[in-house]
């Protein structure tokens, strides 16, 4: 036990001696928090749109005015077709709406009228969203027209389809992206701090030659690992707390769960992330190698964790792979604890999986570490 204390003491001295490092671990965190908080939005805003109205009838103008009034669009105006497409090519408009010449007649037909929406596909995401908005606006207008016509015929849509559909959005009623992404950022930061810094710490000793010096003393592998891991666990927890404070006080994200649950999950998760760093340090020789290898592994795990893209969107076989991804389970836990107030009972599967993965990866790291020593 004394050994662990000595190594802990040594590690803290190292951290104290490297003042720039301390700043580097904290400042980018804060910057990232704010950038991600404000940059990641699902809502696509300020989309420039142009229109070409070949029909020029009250109906077509009515439809276009609805599009114009939509606050997420910046309406560039009505142009002849070639001019509109030119705007698209030059990038001054991201979408063009083309209303056909016989619009007012065709909308009375059974098959309706075909309205073209041409989107700039360079940016797949926003073009999809822009199309979605436009379809929604046109769809609403169409439904409105339909209801009107039915009323004129003496029918009421409410009596035709006698249902009252009430929608209740739970956990995040305003559907804010920050509520979803900022807790996830805590996961990311803990992962990077614990995996990378622990790995570096071990490799640095090897590079300096002090590692051998340590191993000649009665100190055992497990002492070194714990001694090196603990400071970074503490730093990881501090960073998580910082994220939480900013999340709750600045971004006003509600924290509905229990702090105890969160910290227990964090600690359980860190077993895995630390072990990744320890493991990579045993199979590499230099700081640069540790960085690249750990980064390589982390990219896999982070992209497949549900951070950006939900795991449910991925093909079946990839989803199965994610069952060994600790990041995925911690991500679910953190988001659920924050937004849904889930406790241990609801998250028992996640906790169990994290424990199993953690113990396995740690054992692997320990074996590899011992092997490398002798």
């Amino acid at each position: 036990m004394n050994f662990i204390r000595m190594i802990l003491w040594k590690e803290f001295l190292h951290i104290k001696a490297d003042k720039l490092m301390v700043r580097l671990i904290t400042v980018p965190v804060l910057i990232q928090l704010f950038v991600i908080g404000y940059a990641l939005t699902v809502e696509v805003k300020n989309i420039p749109i142009a229109a070409c109205d070949r029909s020029n009838t009250p109906q077509s103008r009515e439809l276009l005015s609805r599009i114009q009034r939509f606050d997420r669009f910046i309406f560039k105006g009505v142009f002849p077709e070639t001019a509109a497409k030119e705007l698209l090519y030059r990038g001054e408009a991201k979408m063009v709406v083309i209303i056909p010449a016989d619009f007012s007649k065709e909308i009375l037909d059974k098959e309706g009228s075909a309205v073209q929406l041409i989107a700039d596909g360079q940016d797949a995401n926003s073009s999809k969203v822009a199309l979605g908005y436009c379809s929604m606006i046109i769809g609403n207008w169409a439904r409105h027209k339909l209801e009107f016509r039915l009323t004129q015929m003496g029918m009421d849509i409410k009596t035709l389809i006698p249902v009252e559909i009430n929608i209740d959005i739970l956990f995040n009623s305003m559907l804010k992206s920050t509520w979803f992404m900022i807790p996830a950022l805590a996961v990311l930061l803990i992962t990077i701090v614990t995996a990378l810094l622990t790995g570096f710490s071990i490799v640095k000793e090897r590079e300096n030659g002090t590692f051998e010096q340590l191993m000649v003393t009665p100190v055992k592998s497990i002492h070194v690992i714990i001694g090196k891991a603990v400071p970074f666990i503490i730093i990881g927890l501090i960073e998580m707390s910082v994220v939480m404070l900013v999340a709750t006080f600045w971004f006003k994200i509600p924290f509905r769960g229990s702090l105890v649950t969160l910290f227990v999950f964090a600690l359980t998760y860190m077993i895995s992330s630390l072990s990744i760093g320890i493991f990579t340090s045993t199979v590499t020789r230099s700081s640069q190698q540790v960085l690249f290898l750990t980064w390589f592994i982390l990219i896999f795990f982070i992209l497949l964790s549900g951070f950006f893209i939900p795991v449910e969107n991925m093909p079946r076989w990839v989803q199965i792979l994610t069952y060994i991804n600790p990041v995925r389970f911690f991500m679910v836990a953190v988001r659920d604890i924050f937004l849904k107030g889930s406790g241990f009972t609801l998250l028992v599967n996640e906790l169990r999986t994290l424990l199993i993965i953690g113990v396995s990866v740690f054992s692997l790291a320990l074996i590899s570490f011992r092997r490398r020593v002798g």
Binding site: K10, L13, Q213, V216, T217, P218
Partner: protein
């Protein structure tokens, strides 16, 4: 049968099919200064590592400070000190902290550690540099500190791997003074070096070539046997063979 501090019999280490250390049989008495010579890559460091319990031998047997190198490596580590080629100190820690760290890792309790640190500081005249950052010390001082850290716990055997490195000749001589004093106090010193003039300071010397120990004797006897004026010439003859 005299009590040997270090004893090996056919100690071998294979890397693949290459024998880095090939059937080495040596014995070192308590308090002896044993010089372990050889060209670069001859296998000296590998051998030292096995004796320290850092590397597992492929075959053969050996004991250090009375403990078996195959099975009792943990116990060996409590009774030995080690100083590696590049001093292996924590350069961002101060002198005192380095001593405190290694002393306690070698198992010294608080009081004993304090005493020994005090002794060492006086012995090596390090009073003025205790608070200085180790990395900022000149190499000669780092060398002394490294020796100090390896000896705080008064080990039975101390292993020095190329301890003098490229330090200047006067510092080297002073360093060997220290080694002599350790030996007089009863510590066995197992030292590797490629400076042949230093080898003269040893009680006995062995010459390693391609993993095998080709010659073991006192410097004087070696010079007589190989009809050479200096150990340097002895070395060249042995290696040349």
């Amino acid at each position: 049968m005299p009590d040997y501090s270090i004893q090996t019999e056919n100690l071998t280490k294979l890397f693949g099919t290459q024998a880095a250390v090939d059937n080495v049989t040596i014995s070192v008495a308590k308090g002896e200064i044993f010089g372990f010579l050889g060209a670069n890559g001859a296998g000296k460091t590998t051998c030292i590592r096995m004796l320290c319990g850092l590397l597992k031998p492929s075959s053969g047997s050996g004991s250090v400070a009375g403990f078996d190198v195959m099975k009792q490596t943990a116990k060996i580590r409590t009774r030995i000190g080690y100083m590696s080629q590049n001093f292996s100190l924590y350069s961002d820690l101060c002198v005192r902290d380095n001593m405190r760290l290694f002393g306690s890792l070698y198992g010294l309790n608080r009081t004993t550690l304090k005493e020994r640190m005090h002794e060492m500081t006086r012995f090596l005249h390090m009073e003025d540099i205790l608070q200085q950052k180790t990395g900022s010390l000149p190499w000669g001082w780092q060398q002394r500190l490294s020796l100090a850290c390896a000896n705080l716990h008064k080990p039975d055997v101390v292993f020095l791997d190329e301890p003098t490195g490229s330090v200047d000749p006067i510092s080297r001589r002073n360093f060997w003074e220290l080694i002599r004093r350790l030996s007089d106090a009863g510590t066995t010193v197992f030292v590797t070096t490629h400076h042949m003039d230093e080898a003269e300071y040893c009680h006995r010397v062995s010459i390693m070539v391609d993993g095998k120990v080709k010659a073991v004797d006192t410097p004087r006897n070696l010079k007589k046997t190989y009809n050479a004026a200096t150990l340097h010439d002895v070395f060249l003859t042995v290696v040349g063979r």
